[in-house]
């Protein structure tokens, strides 16, 4: 039984994040304008420090599900993405009219939201890290809510437009509905097994000696089903995807980038944990049906809706839905053969999250660095920074010729999202499809490939527009230096990362993702106790794995 101190030892990164968040809050309200300007730097420093701590604390060898590697991987993943997101988001609160009012002749702390913005930014990321590290259903629930609650506020406060408030309210209510859903699921799991801790729950689930698959009681099964469906909200999967486009469109573009990436990472981390209660390698048929149905519906609905859209943020929102669909299939693929990255579905999901994250952040960062000229009909079309950021296809026309850097990043992002071979998105899809094929779901692979082809229809349209497009009206202009903040830097980093991790560095990330799932549970036919013992035994070598993993991730991803 680990003591409190032991548990705390594994939570150093989160503690750092919390302290940093409070520091941001304080700095944002400081009387000195110079200190206030330091706030984003504090946020960045905090995340970098937390990253170091995450690598330093290493892998928890006593993780009740044997997923200590996944915990560390997800923490590092979300911190890396968070650092790039910070570049994209920095400058958002500074550009608000409200901030301008607060920063008048005398600083008015009541109006300023700068500290709060970075505070919530860090809190949400802390939520993801805690989600990954959860070993208990209650903890998991609280961590998921910690991820989501700040995002509601971030949406509402970062835009001087009522539409942002509408988005925030929608997101909040539907989020609450989904939270109720998975909370109900958790309750059923508790009811079926009598435990809230992962380890005992897992031990309580019977394994069919006939098929080698988990054979949960109907109550337990319903608990898992409701949890999965509730978590679908976090990853924007069918049937919980309906909010996506409205919310993404309503939020300020940098915050949209945040929404497209951070809750998704949390959702998939939680899904991996919840599904591993049954054993990712021996999911019973009903759960496979459920995941397959969600996956197929999600990717199809996402892609066809994106196909008919012309508003860029809505297109990217549906693209985010579609990508969740791909990853859902990865969850059903099982862990494959130990030591072989190809065939390990959940590991492919972990890698895909990184590839998708950089692709999306790149695209959103480019959109955020532009301002439409098309809708000059007044204040309602301008966002926090006082520009119209609701871009249509036409606004991108010929972007390459006006700004090769932004056009290039857009091109790379689109190609990586399509899954063009030298780029990271290709590797992501390659391993995903490899896993699903290995598991023998040939029909699903065909659906996935067809969907990829549909997605090429809109991704490539964007890519082509940036080169050859001609706009009927004036295309979007690039924001001046003072207003776009470091978004271009973020875009470039995302673009370069999207390029690089498709190459050699990607291999080490893939290896990390694969090693995150080792030790692999013992053969499914064994008794649960044996499984646990085997898992414990093989986790003994975890620190070494952690070291190599840490080094690999550090190599793979360029730090800003």
């Amino acid at each position: 039984m680990p003591t409190i101190a032991d548990k705390l030892a594994g939570l150093w990164p989160e503690i750092v994040m919390l302290l940093g968040a409070v520091a941001c809050l304080a700095a944002g309200l400081s009387a000195s304008a110079r200190t206030r300007r330091l706030t984003p730097w504090i946020a960045g420093g905090t995340m970098a420090l937390a990253w170091i701590f995450a690598l330093w604390t290493g892998i928890d060898a006593d993780h009740p599900l044997g997923l200590g590697g996944v915990v560390t991987y997800v923490k590092c993943l979300v911190l890396v993405l968070g650092l790039v997101l910070l570049l994209v988001c920095a400058g958002v609160p500074e550009g608000l009219k409200q901030t301008a009012a607060a920063e008048g002749a005398r600083f008015d702390p009541g109006l300023s939201v700068r500290g709060e913005f970075y505070f919530f930014f860090l809190l949400s990321i802390t939520g993801v890290m805690l989600t990954a590290g959860a070993t208990d259903l209650v903890w998991l629930f609280l961590a998921l809510e910690l991820t989501s609650l700040p995002t509601y506020v971030m949406i509402a406060m970062t835009r001087d437009r009522t539409v942002a408030h509408e988005s925030a309210v929608k997101y909040f209510f539907l989020g609450a509905l989904s939270a109720a859903m998975f909370l109900y699921g958790f309750a059923l799991i508790y009811g079926a097994t009598g435990f809230t801790e992962f380890g005992p729950i897992r031990d309580a689930v019977a394994v069919s000696s006939e098929t080698g698959l988990s054979d949960p009681s109907p109550l337990m099964l319903m608990g898992i089903v409701l949890s999965v469906l509730g978590l679908c909200f976090k990853v924007a999967a069918v049937p919980m995807h309906v909010y996506t486009a409205d919310v993404y469109q309503g939020a300020a573009t940098p915050v949209t980038a945040f929404l497209a990436v951070v809750p998704k990472v949390a959702g998939f981390a939680a899904l991996i944990m919840v599904l591993h209660l049954l054993g990712l390698d021996r999911l019973p048929e009903p759960v496979l049906y459920l995941l397959g149905a969600i996956g197929v519906l999600t990717m199809t609905v996402g892609n066809v809706l994106a196909f008919v859209q012309t508003n860029l943020k809505r297109v990217m929102a549906y693209s985010s839905v579609a990508n969740s669909g791909y990853m859902m299939l990865g969850l059903m693929a099982g862990l494959g053969v130990p030591g072989n990255a190809l065939g390990n579905g959940p590991a492919a999901v972990l890698f895909f999250l990184l590839a998708y994250g950089f692709g999306s952040i790149g695209a959103f960062a480019v959109i955020a660095a532009l301002a439409a000229q098309r809708s000059p009909d007044g204040a309602d079309h301008t966002d926090a920074t006082g520009v119209a950021d609701d871009l249509e296809y036409d606004d991108l026309a010929g972007l390459w010729w006006r700004s090769p850097v932004l056009g290039g990043v857009m091109l790379v992002s689109m190609l990586t999202l399509v899954g063009m071979p030298p780029l990271s998105g290709f590797m992501g899809k390659f391993f995903l499809i490899g896993g699903v094929l290995n598991a023998g779901f040939y029909g699903l692979v065909i659906v996935l490939v067809i969907n990829s082809a549909i997605s090429a229809g809109y991704y490539l349209r964007i890519a082509m527009l940036t080169f050859f497009g001609e706009s009927s009206s004036a295309p979007a202009v690039i924001l001046p230096e003072g207003r776009r903040g470091p978004r271009v830097v973020g875009a470039v980093i995302a673009g370069i990362a999207g390029l690089l991790i498709g190459g050699l560095p990607g291999n080490s990330v893939v290896r990390n993702a694969r090693e995150a799932f080792e030790p692999v549970p013992a053969p499914a036919s064994a008794e649960p106790e044996t499984v646990q013992a085997a898992a414990d035994e093989s986790t003994a070598s975890a620190p070494a794995v952690a070291r190599s993993q840490a080094a690999g991730l550090a190599d793979a991803v360029p730090t800003p």
Partner: protein
């Protein structure tokens, strides 16, 4: 490290030039200097490298390009180098001649709107070509092979506003694709057979097989027989041999320095290099090398006859390039790798020289190419006149010039081979070569006498070669003659352009002498992968294990040493050709006119390349076009409509689903709850089933 730098410095220069053009277009004028400097640096590095290679082999890796699988199934193809004396010779030619041509082009291209583009391509070409000759595996070699093909395409189509240039570029690319297709199949077959693409490993395997066969155990498989033929197709395509030669004459639509560099000195010799490098593979098939030799000799004669009647200044040299390449293939075909490589080196010198001087003439006459409009230009352009004279002497094979030694080495080796083997075929091929030698001397000096001797006449071409529009740009170069376009009179080139030509001329006249008596090429080739084997092959074929080591062939023809015989014979023929040309085209031009009138039809037929293009059109292009039309119809009618349907499907689906996204939170909530209920029921059903 040094080997890695040789290709990558020009590549870096190409990238830099490209970046400059994007971001600092006012620095575009440095492109020429940058390109020439990079190639020069590569040349210096090559010299340094050659000292460390000596007569051994340097193997060096850059990075693991492709690597997958493990154990027996592993496949590796590195960006790694295999450098032996043969490679060093090739590198010296590429970077040395390339550097000189870049210096010349710096003046030649001045004022051209695509100035930077030209040098970016040239630098990229040098990268691809050096990679090609340094590659230690066939895949990397193929990368370079395609790279030079790409650069060739870009450079031929450099004047892309001219339809002729674009058509020529396309033709070159497509004809080369045919050859590359064969080459690629050959690579696949090699991998299938040897399980690797490392050239040294493959050659080792081939030698072992050959030794086994020679000792009576082991057999040559069908794969062994096929590989050389497939590789050969690639070599013929790149080196413009029959029947894939027809792109090269058209390729002269590119800027003249390109014709000199890519289409005379370096790229077109890649085929010769490939066969020389992979000689043991060719030796495995009893028919491969005779085929190579036959194609080479026939092409040599064929192209020479066309060169004889062509009136196009650059065309004559283009056909002569095809013809000289034929010699080289004849050389490798009779196991005279040293002869082929020797000729490759000397040919690089004198043909580059000839093209560049032809470029000077063309430059001076504002794009005029028809030699019938020219005459007596020696007064207007004395330096160019005598530089081209030096090149012509070498090409004609006049004794003691470079072409004399190298061509005679090939012909002598061919004769020796024929004598050694009593092969009627090789006697015939040698005869063809000798006839070609005479024709070469004749057509070369036909051109020279027509252009530079006789009474002075010229017509300016219609395209002012960029210089006059920008004459002011470089009027300050103390180079008043350069502005003469305005007066419609040809002028001599500035020394910045003639300087490199003098170096080339010196090479054309003296390189043969030096290399012949120092034995540099024989030494180099005998220590390369190719020749280690050549010796063994000779001894086997001659049935004389003690013989032939050391290089001298002791084959006698009509009681004379074959080489001496050939030297005497071709000296006589070369001089006879020159004299005859002087007589007909200088002293008594009316004879030429009379002959032209009498053989009008034949000449026209020859000028028309013996209708090869038409035959090719009818036999290959037309059926393919018909087939294409058929496929196009099928595609339009059936596949396209199916695709339209499939493309429309997502749109319709999307339109169908779209109303659900109505923005109302109540309906969203309802959708979510209904969806959850539906999926929960699905699971329930699944559990029940």
């Amino acid at each position: 490290m040094t080997p890695t730098l040789i290709p990558w410095i020009p590549a870096l220069a190409a990238a830099t030039i490209g970046l400059i053009s994007l971001f600092r277009s006012e620095w575009n004028r440095f492109a020429g200097a940058l390109c020439a400097g990079a190639i020069g640096l590569s040349f210096v590095l090559t010299l340094w490298l050659s000292s460390s290679v000596g007569s051994g082999v340097v193997e060096s890796g850059f990075y693991d390009w492709i690597s997958f699988g493990s154990g027996d199934n592993a496949f590796h193809a590195g960006f790694s180098w295999f450098i032996d004396p043969l490679t060093v010779v090739m590198l010296l030619v590429i970077t040395g001649i390339g550097g000189l041509i870049a210096v010349y082009a710096h003046g030649y291209m001045k004022g051209d709107p695509g100035y930077w583009r030209f040098f970016a391509y040239v630098a990229l070409f040098i990268f691809a070509m050096t990679t090609l000759v340094m590659a230690d595996n066939l895949l990397l070699l193929f990368l370079g092979w395609e790279g030079v093909g790409l650069c060739s395409y870009l450079l031929i189509g450099y004047y892309y506003e001219k339809p002729k240039a674009v058509a020529a570029a396309k033709k070159a690319f497509i004809v080369n694709r045919v050859g590359d297709f064969g080459f690629l199949l050959g690579i696949f077959l090699c991998y299938q057979h040897y399980g690797t693409l490392q050239i040294s490993t493959m050659l080792e395997g081939a030698r072992e097989t050959l030794a086994a066969v020679a000792h009576g155990h082991g057999a040559v498989t069908a794969t062994d027989v096929w590989i050389p033929f497939l590789l050969m197709v690639g070599a013929f395509g790149k080196s413009a041999q029959l029947p894939l030669y027809m792109w090269l004459p058209d390729a002269m639509a590119g800027p003249t320095p390109v014709s000199a560099l890519v289409h005379a000195a370096t790229m077109v010799t890649a085929g010769v290099y490939l066969i020389a490098r992979c000689l043991p593979l060719f030796e495995l098939s009893p028919y491969a090398l005779p085929t190579v030799a036959t194609v080479g000799a026939v092409t040599a004669l064929f192209a020479a006859t066309i060169a004889l009647v062509s009136n196009d200044l650059k065309g004559v040299f283009a056909y002569s390039t095809v013809s000289q390449l034929g010699y080289m293939f004849l050389g490798v075909g009779c196991l005279s790798t040293d002869g082929a490589v020797f000729h490759l080196v000397t040919h690089a010198f004198f043909k580059a020289l000839l093209f560049l001087t032809a470029g000077s003439v063309m430059h001076a006459l504002a794009g005029q190419l028809n030699i019938q409009t020219m005459g007596g230009l020696r007064h207007k352009m004395p330096v160019t006149c005598w530089l081209m004279f030096a090149g012509c002497l070498a090409l004609a094979g006049v004794p003691l010039t470079a072409g004399f030694f190298s061509k005679d080495l090939i012909l002598g080796d061919a004769l020796a081979y024929a004598v050694d083997h009593g092969s009627v075929l090789f006697f015939a091929l040698t005869f063809l070569g000798v006839v070609t030698a005479f024709l070469t001397a004749f057509y070369t000096f036909r051109l020279w006498f027509t252009v530079f001797m006789g009474e002075e006449k010229f017509e300016m071409g219609d395209e002012h070669h960029a210089a006059d529009d920008h004459a002011g740009d470089h009027a300050d170069e103390a180079d008043a003659a350069h502005d003469d376009h305005a007066h419609d009179a040809p002028h001599e080139m500035p020394w910045s352009m003639n300087g490199p030509l003098v170096v080339l001329a010196a090479g054309a006249l003296l390189a043969g002498l030096v290399l012949h008596f120092t034995g540099g090429i024989e030494h180099a080739v005998q220590h390369s992968t190719a020749a280690v084997f050549v010796d063994a092959a000779h001894s086997q074929h001659a049935g004389d294990p003690a013989g032939d080591h050391g290089g001298e062939h002791h084959a006698y023809f009509l009681g004379v040493d074959a080489h001496v015989f050939m030297q005497v014979l071709s000296s006589i023929l070369a001089v006879a050709g020159v004299v005859l040309a002087a007589f007909v085209f200088w002293m008594k031009r009316e004879i030429a006119d009379k002959a032209a009138a009498r053989f009008d039809k034949l000449i026209r037929f020859a000028r028309h390349e013996y209708c090869i293009n038409e035959i090719c059109d009818a036999a290959v292009v037309l059926p393919l076009r018909r087939l294409g039309a058929l496929f196009y119809a099928v595609d339009r009618l059936i596949i396209n409509s199916v695709m339209d349907l499939m493309g429309g499907l997502p749109r319709w689906l999307g339109m169908g689903v779209r109303p659900a996204q109505n923005g109302r939170i109540q309906s969203y909530g309802l959708t979510m709850v209904l969806g959850v209920a539906l999926l929960a029921v699905l699971v329930l059903v699944a559990t029940g089933g």
